[in-house]
């Protein structure tokens, strides 16, 4: 838990500075890069934690085998689909009116 907090803090600090960079102002850019940084931080954390030892947990092994960028895109796409789903017109409301 303590480690998770430290990683989260790192991401927060990086992101607060990333938002100040020229060309970073767009919401879409900020979200994409936040996902990317989070995935990258997760990978670095596990690399540090394992210290070169073989990965036993198959879920972690599967995640570490993938590129952080690729995972970030997948997560973002999932979020986008969820937002789209939540914004869809509700059939019940149409009947009410």
């Amino acid at each position: 838990m303590e480690h998770a907090r430290a990683v989260e803090e790192d991401i927060g600090l990086w992101f607060s500075r990333f938002a100040l960079r020229p060309g970073s102002g767009r919401a879409g850019v900020l979200r994409t890069q936040l996902f990317s940084a989070t995935c990258e931080a997760g990978r670095r954390y596990w690399q540090w934690r394992l210290g070169g030892a073989p990965v036993v947990d198959h879920q972690i092994r599967r995640v570490l085998a993938r590129e952080p960028e690729e995972m970030a895109k997948e997560l973002e796409e999932k979020l986008r689909q969820r937002e789209k789903w939540e914004k869809r017109p509700k059939p019940g409301k149409e009947n009410d009116s």
């Binding site: 960079r21 060309g23 540090w48």
Partner: protein
């Protein structure tokens, strides 16, 4: 397993953003020769300082390019050698790329074009590794286009600038898109397509108003004033001058203000408004004197030491635009260099013009005062 005893190597924040800003200002006030040995005390490797520093240097690019070039070069070397672990994730590469871009832009402003090109190449090696690298590659492309405009490669500018403008819009960077259109307007102007240039700047002015970007509105209106003056459309030129004037004052953009006020004086004189012309010439001279008195160092709004004169500090003559005593035509200073000296009050021109005005107004005393004031400007330039 006792792995929990090992502390995760996160980097605790040493400075808040506000503290970083203050530290950046403090470093800039410290002589470069003293910085390396006081690196730890000055927090030179602190990302909060470096991000504020990049912002500060970017703001001073136009007014003090020589100082900015020196500072960006120093910090680039500090971050790169030895390979210091700066910031988190991509931050080291970002700072190296940004500092190289700033140094290159400063060199371009100083007409050190080969050096500028080398810095841009260096910047490119870093920004490709940075998060949101596309935006930084585009910013570099803009600087290279501005360099092309200064080297009078106008065909290239007319071909590429509209494409980059579209790209910037897609990247959500509308102000950079407008800056590319400035290059188009300037290229058209330089190629003698004045009507097309007027249309380009009118479009830019309108879009800058939508973005509420005072700086771009002022510069577009200033360029329009000069274009209309060349086309002999005095009323339009006056309207644009009057639009640009308060904005340039607000921005403390003295170089542009002097030229605008002088041009305004010419226009009023052409219309027979002698009193108005004298007032405008006097205002221009007042600004020019204020500019002459400034130091050109960091925080200097006039930046005389960086812009004035025909040498680049190494004894070599600068490019043709400097020889005319004006700034080159880039959207960082998106003002077209006038072919004649009429928009820039060189002392001898100023003296002659004021003589004509005062003689035509029949006031000998004012003429003598004018000559005396111009001598003061002359001695300072």
């Amino acid at each position: 397993m006792t792995g929990e005893l090992v502390q995760f190597p996160s980097r605790p924040r040493r400075l808040s953003h506000e503290e970083g800003r203050a530290a950046a200002a403090c470093v800039l006030a410290t002589p470069i020769s003293e910085r390396e040995e006081r690196a730890s005390e000055l927090y030179l490797d602190e990302p909060e300082l470096l991000i504020s520093l990049c912002e500060l240097l970017t703001k001073q690019l136009e007014t003090s390019p020589a100082t900015v070039c020196e500072e960006a070069g120093f910090f680039y070397r500090f971050v790169s050698i030895p390979k210091r672990p700066i910031g988190l994730f991509d931050e080291r590469e970002y700072f190296l790329g940004e500092l190289a871009l700033i140094a290159g832009t400063a060199c371009r402003v100083l007409f050190r074009r080969e050096e500028a090109r080398r810095w841009f190449d260096v910047a490119e090696t870093h920004v490709v590794l940075v998060a949101n690298g596309t935006a930084h590659v585009a910013r570099l492309a803009y600087q290279k286009l501005a360099l092309a405009a200064e080297e009078r490669r106008f065909e290239e500018v007319l071909k590429l600038a509209p494409v980059w403008s579209e790209n910037f819009l897609q990247l959500g960077m509308p102000e950079d898109a407008l800056k590319c259109r400035f290059l188009v307007g300037i290229a058209l102007w330089e190629m003698g397509q004045l009507r097309e240039s007027v249309e380009a700047f009118r479009g830019i002015c309108g879009d800058a108003e939508k973005l509420q970007n005072v700086r771009l509105i002022a510069q577009a209106a200033n360029n329009l004033a000069q274009l209309y003056a060349i086309l002999g459309e005095a009323d339009e030129a006056l309207t644009c001058s009057r639009k640009a004037l308060p904005l340039l004052k607000h921005l403390s953009s003295r170089v542009h203000l002097v030229k605008l006020q002088w041009g305004l004086g010419d226009l009023l004189r052409g219309q027979g408004n002698v009193a108005g012309a004298v007032e405008a010439y006097r205002a221009a001279l007042k600004e020019a004197r204020g500019r002459s008195g400034s130091s050109g160092g960091v925080g200097d709004p006039g930046g005389v030491a960086d812009h004035r004169g025909g040498e680049d500090g190494s004894g070599r003559l600068r490019g043709p635009f400097t020889a005319a005593g004006v700034t080159p035509p880039s959207p960082d200073r998106p003002e077209r260099p006038p072919k004649s000296s009429r928009l820039f009050p060189r002392p001898e021109v100023a003296r002659a013009a004021l003589n004509v005005v005062h003689v035509s107004a029949g006031c000998t005393e004012k003429r003598e005062n004018a000559v005396s004031q111009n001598s003061q400007v002359s001695s300072r330039c």
